[in-house]
């Protein structure tokens, strides 16, 4: 038997408003990796470091004149710029031409 007295509901949205986040552009790219200093940013998860090591070996083979510099975030799940090492990280960034980051997931 059908229900002929079905109710009609006018409902409010549960979805919260959020302010738009101001966007920034990413850094300009380098034309070529030859002779450049490549930063390898290694986060805490265990596959990050071996992944970046493989990348370093392969890039060295392709670009023998390229140099590499590592930076390790050792605090799980905490942005490096929120830590006391912020200045160290920013100085490291100034010394490299490009960065490959691996979170580990």
């Amino acid at each position: 038997m059908s229900n002929k007295t079905e109710c009609f509901y006018e409902v409010l949205s549960p979805w919260a408003e959020a302010d738009p986040v101001p966007y920034r552009a990413i850094s300009p790219r380098i034309k070529d990796l030859a002779g450049k200093k490549i930063g390898l940013f290694c986060n805490t998860k265990r596959v990050a470091e071996p992944t970046l090591k493989v990348i370093e070996v392969r890039l060295k083979k392709m670009f023998p004149a390229a140099a590499f510099s590592w930076f390790f975030n050792t605090v799980p799940n905490e942005a490096i710029i929120a830590q006391t090492r912020k200045n160290e990280f920013e100085n490291w960034l100034k010394g490299v031409d490009a960065v490959i980051a691996a979170y580990g997931d």
Binding site: E6, C7, F8, Y9, E10, V11, L12, S13, P14, W15, A16, E17, A18, D19, P20, V21, P22, Y23, R24, A25, I26, S27, P28, R29, I30, K31, D32, L33, G39, F41, T44, K45, R46, V47, E49, P50, T51, V54, I55, R58, T74, V75, P76, N77, E78, A82, A98, V99, I100, A101, A102, Y103, G104, D105
Partner: protein
């Protein structure tokens, strides 16, 4: 910079980049298996992405990447839909606004009734909840509370719980880790103080089982708040590998009437007459059966069932708690006993945790001598002891994360002026089982 991510995390990486204001971050999706320790798999996983890595590093920026346009965020109309019960449910489900179970339609009338549970104005902003920094207004809390089937008397609890999430510490030990981690950590709410009885929150037999509206709806409402205000989407921000049924709800009241010890909120410095809510993020719920009812047997069983160097909430049933108290154990002494007696080799901790340094474990104090025996849990403040459940011998452990010891552990619940009247109106909403 380019970011390498397993292809299953590409959406997560994109969401994180956007929420941090850099939507153009070039995410290179790889087939490197998550958490892999096998070199050949890592090598093979990178093979298919190699050209993408070089391109992402060297291809000039597009116009869009140079000048990313801020997209207008969706702001649904206040009245978002009209329809039958079934149509409302289908609409909400398809928008991703439910937990999969049917919801109560949040009509203007129902939300107004819910707002009787607070003196705060509907547009009062409690804060902006991660990950999308959604504005947690009192009205949005009330709307999600209606959907979950909450009663207006739960509003003070839900507001306090939302504040607790908002004030959760940043980083490894806070909501921003446990809400989104691959570990599927689940919010676990402990309510203590007089409000437990006013809301009929179950702290007795089957405390963690379904059947009590307060235990069910408070946890469910907080799940919807995390989803609809925080914008935490399963498989995008919440990357729990296995997921966790405790995310539907995990709420208990401390059984203060049958406890020989002081309640949790008093331990954390509040007055006995205060009410409060406390949050942890366990991954696992475990029960064990002590081989005897004396303190030695009970505590040995507790020790045997502590296997991970993390936070523990131990829920003792009333008779077990009383037996421990009779033999001189208070909460502090139990915690200290666990720290002193649960020793494992440093090598065992390292093997268990892999390369990840868990700050709260004994790992940091382990020496280079991997044979040295160290406490699995080094700080007694990582252990909570409460009394709950009914008659019987089983003891429960909730295993997993929470605040760094010494940081925020509890949130006081503030009551509205009309509290007594409101409690009176809803106090009889309790199940009365048929006799047979």
């Amino acid at each position: 910079m380019i970011m390498l991510a397993n292809y299953g995390f590409a959406n997560d990486a994109e969401s994180a980049s956007r929420s941090k204001g850099m939507p153009g971050v070039r995410v290179v999706s790889t087939k490197v298996p998550c958490e892999s320790t096998v070199s050949a798999d890592i090598e093979a996983g990178l093979d298919g992405s190699w050209d993408d890595i070089i391109t992402a590093l060297t291809k000039p920026l597009t116009t869009e990447e140079k000048n990313p346009r801020v997209e207008k965020t969706e702001t649904p109309a206040r009245i978002v839909f009209q329809g039958s019960l079934e149509e409302v449910n289908r609409f909400f489900y398809r928008r991703g606004w439910t937990d999969g179970l049917p919801i109560i339609p949040p009509t203007e009338e129902a939300v107004q009734e819910m707002l009787l549970g607070t003196d705060l104005a509907p547009d009062y902003l409690l804060g902006q909840l991660q990950s999308r920094l959604g504005k947690a207004t009192v009205e949005k809390v009330a709307i999600n509370a209606v959907m979950a089937g909450a009663l207006p008397t739960y509003m003070p609890v839900l507001i306090a719980a939302t504040i607790d999430l908002l004030e959760s510490e940043q980083g490894f030990n806070g909501y921003t880790t446990y809400g989104f981690s691959t570990g599927s950590w689940s919010p676990f709410w402990i309510i203590s103080g007089p409000i437990r009885q006013q809301l009929n929150i179950n702290s007795g037999s089957g405390s963690f089982s379904p059947g009590n509206i307060a235990n069910a709806a408070i946890g469910r409402a907080m799940g919807l708040i995390i989803k609809n205000i925080g914008g935490v989407r399963k498989g995008i921000e919440d990357m729990g590998v296995m997921g966790n049924p405790m995310k539907y709800t995990m709420v208990i009241a401390e059984n203060e009437e049958e406890s020989p010890w002081e309640p949790l909120h008093v331990e954390y410095g509040l007055k006995k007459e205060d009410s409060a809510i406390s949050l942890n993020f366990p991954q696992t719920y475990l029960q064990h059966y002590p081989p005897g009812s004396d303190a030695t047997s009970i505590l040995q069983s507790v020790i045997d069932n502590i296997t991970r160097g993390m936070r523990y909430t131990i829920v003792f049933n009333p008779s077990t708690a009383k037996n421990l108290a009779r033999e001189g154990y208070n909460k502090e002494k139990i915690k200290q006993y666990i720290v002193e007696k649960k020793l494992v080799s440093a090598a065992q901790i390292k093997a268990q945790l892999g390369a990840v340094v868990i700050p709260e474990s004994g790992l940091q104090q382990s020496s280079r001598n991997t044979a040295e025996m160290v406490p699995l849990i080094k700080d007694p403040r990582l252990i909570r002891v409460i009394v709950g459940g009914g008659p019987g011998a089983f003891v429960a452990h909730l295993i997993g994360g929470g605040a760094t010891p010494g940081k925020k552990e509890i949130q006081k619940i503030e009551l509205p002026k009309n509290w007594d009247k409101l409690v009176d109106k809803y106090k009889n909403v309790v199940p009365i089982y048929a006799k047979y």
